[in-house]
């Protein structure tokens, strides 16, 4: 039985060495295949597009253009892309805040926007955007939005541009839905 004790000892020593190593990590990871990467890419790129739009003085036009382009590119990858986004445009001189709503969900919808009890209803056609302006807004405000069957509530700063994004990617039975706020 002496030989087996030697083998057992060698195995235990080797085990101690391997336990000390970090766990293995694959070189290429796929959280949800290419759709997962595409969703992460868009989640990062939409706020970037808005920033470029703000610096070029046309955030609404650029967001519309970017969303339409993303829809075309996603279509070429056999991904059905839909999105709803909204962002605030503060006017520090007047204290007014304009909320811009973009609907790319595949069908037109009524959107309820409530800012501190001041409620507006606006119809946004598919592939289009609309805006509502609220006068004399306090430095911090609560914005309640109902679009389609979804409702969200946000606390935003009057003098800061804020954005909410809903992105949905669908291919066959696979659906990825992401929401981001910045």
């Amino acid at each position: 039985m002496k030989g087996q004790f030697l083998i057992l000892g060698a195995v235990l020593l080797c085990s101690l060495f391997f336990i000390g190593l970090p766990p293995s990590r694959p070189l290429a990871e796929s959280p949800a295949g290419d759709m997962g990467y595409l969703a992460a890419n868009l989640e990062k790129e939409f706020p970037h597009a808005l920033n470029l739009g703000l610096s070029e003085g046309d955030p609404r036009g650029i967001m519309e253009n970017f969303t339409g382009w993303v829809r075309d590119v996603a279509g070429s990858l056999l991904v059905d892309f839909s999105s709803f986004w909204m962002f605030s445009e503060p006017d520090p001189a007047s204290g007014n805040v304009t909320i811009v709503l973009g609907n790319y969900m595949g069908t037109g919808m009524n959107v309820d926007v409530d800012l501190g009890g001041n409620r507006r209803n606006v119809f946004v056609a598919d592939g289009d955007s609309e805006s509502v302006t609220f006068p004399s807004v306090g430095p911090e405000y609560v914005l309640d939005v109902m679009f389609g069957s979804d409702a969200r509530s946000f606390t935003w700063q009057r003098d800061k541009v804020s954005v909410f994004l809903l992105l949905q990617l669908e291919r066959g039975g696979n659906i990825i839905r992401k929401e981001a706020e910045a």
Partner: protein, 132 residues
């Protein structure tokens, strides 16, 4: 007397056999333990490898500069991929592209959308990969 010696030798042989089996079980168990914890080449997923590479290049702040300059060959030169050939294509909103599409079978494609760097210039970056 002679019968006792034969009996003792048989017992010893039987013991050796048991010892060999125990040693084999210990060794096989150890190899299985090591093998299960450290997967090898099957972790590669060429279908998403391109996406992963482009994501990493953007995270490192490399991608956007090349895309803004429409420099597909420059971006391609920043990619090193063992065992795979690769080429990069940068396409503008109009559909005009810079770079090369490989003339090879079994090609994997990874895509990455970029809205711009300092100006709004939406571009689609494609990386093509094939086994060498």
């Amino acid at each position: 007397m002679g019968l006792q010696i034969i009996k003792r030798d048989t017992m010893r042989g039987f013991l050796y056999m048991i010892e060999a089996i125990i040693a084999g079980v210990i060794l096989i168990g150890f190899l299985l333990f090591i093998g299960s914890g450290y997967p090898a080449a099957q972790s590669y997923d060429p279908g998403t490898m391109g996406y992963s590479i482009l994501h990493d290049l953007d995270r490192q702040g490399i991608l956007r500069d090349y895309v803004a300059e429409n420099n597909a060959s420059g971006l391609d030169s920043r990619i090193s991929l063992f065992g795979y050939g690769h080429s990069v294509l940068i396409c503008g909103q109009s559909g005009a592209c810079q770079g090369t599409v490989p003339d090879a079978g079994d090609v994997w494609v990874g895509n990455y959308l970029v809205s711009g760097k300092d100006d709004y210039q939406p571009r689609l970056v494609k990386i093509y990969m094939w086994r060498l």
